[in-house]
């Protein structure tokens, strides 16, 4: 049944192409935001990246397509048009949606540990590595707790090893 399977593949291809076409249309529709002043757009994008969607938790406002994110995007745009600074917009949303909405948490008592942890851990790691590398490295014989071999001993050892090798061949 080779012709049959070929047929169905052709159908799949068409369906795939159709899907592709449709999806590109959807993306195009989503991004229409008009500003009175184009210089607001980069700030708008930046804010959407840093604000979290309260409903979908692991997405920011730029990624999420949930209803609340659409509303909040419109709200951010409205506030930008009202000439609020980025900090004021964040404050405005924080007062309503709590600090949760900020993907970049403010430095305060509750988040202090979060901010300090990387620095503290790097310093701690560096300290430990320094301590370990400064410690005097014991030589091989010290590790095995034997005295270094004399020349005769070494010769004898080589002989033994060689004879053993020959024996096993």
């Amino acid at each position: 049944m080779p012709s049959n399977s070929l047929l169905s593949f052709g159908w799949l291809k068409q369906a795939g192409l159709l899907l592709l076409l449709l999806s590109s249309v959807a993306v195009a529709v989503e991004d229409v935001v008009n500003f009175s002043d184009e210089s607001l757009r980069p700030r708008y994008q930046q804010l959407l990246e840093e604000l979290r969607c309260p409903k979908c938790q692991n997405q920011n406002l730029a990624d999420s397509n949930s209803a609340i994110s659409q509303d909040l995007r419109a709200e951010v745009q409205r506030l930008l048009e009202q000439d609020l600074t980025d900090a004021e917009i964040k404050e405005y949303l924080k007062n309503r949606y709590s600090e949760f909405i900020l993907y970049r948490p403010e430095v305060n008592r509750a988040t202090g540990f979060l901010w300090a942890a990387p620095v503290v851990l790097v310093l701690l790691g560096g300290f430990i590595i320094l301590r370990l590398s400064r410690r005097k490295k014991p030589s091989q014989s010290e590790k095995l707790n034997v005295s270094p071999r004399s020349v005769e001993q070494q010769q004898r050892l080589d002989e033994l090893l060689n004879s053993h090798k020959r024996g096993s061949e």
């Binding site: 938790q57 209803a67 509303d71 709200e75 924080k94 309503r96 949606y97 709590s98 600090e99």
Partner: protein, 180 residues
């Protein structure tokens, strides 16, 4: 002493494990609320049944009340509704906030299922919703006689939730209001 120091990483692992384990039981949807102990935000919106009438916080009239955010598109609201009806029958004052909805659909919905609300705020664009920090429906706010939000519940309020989170606080607030 040195030997004991070898156990430090192990102890740290245990501590981390314990922290993660106890975090498992937490509901990640349970967000901290920015508005608890703050005044209910001011609003000036149409009433759901009567477009001519503007409603605001003044219509709370110094009562202890619940503000219930709902919509016809919200499935959980259907589950919640019978309990709101029985609360209203018990004499609990409830104000509806019809959130991002169509007026006609909402009116029919209440006609069909009963209307537990003293009045309903009609907020088709979610303006008050944003001021309240609403991010889904249903949500329920307990507002005291001074218009301060005292408790917020995101999700369905049913008999269990009412008994666990609302009943005592509600009674306490009502008693306070009556004493004055």
């Amino acid at each position: 002493m040195n030997r004991l120091a070898l156990f430090i990483p192990f102890a740290l692992c245990l501590a981390l494990g314990a922290f993660l384990f106890f975090s498992l039981g937490k509901d990640p949807l349970d967000l901290p609320s920015a508005l608890v102990d703050e005044a209910f935000p001011e609003f000036d919106l149409e009433e759901l049944h009567d477009p001519e009438r503007q409603v605001s916080t003044e219509d709370f009239a110094g009562q202890v009340l619940l503000v219930n955010v709902w919509a016809t598109w919200c499935f959980a609201c259907r589950i919640e509704h019978p309990w709101l009806n029985s609360l209203a029958e018990e004499g609990v004052a409830i104000v509806g906030l019809n959130y991002k909805d169509h007026r006609k659909l909402a009116q029919d919905w209440l006609q069909e299922r009963g209307d537990p609300y003293q009045f309903s705020i009609f907020d088709p664009r979610g303006v008050l919703g944003i001021d309240l920090g609403v991010y889904g429906a249903p949500e329920t706010y307990l507002v005291d006689a001074q218009g301060i939000i005292r408790h917020r519940r995101v999700g369905v309020v049913d008999e269990r939730v009412w008994n666990e989170e609302f009943r005592d606080l509600y009674q306490q607030l009502v008693d306070q209001a009556n004493a004055k």
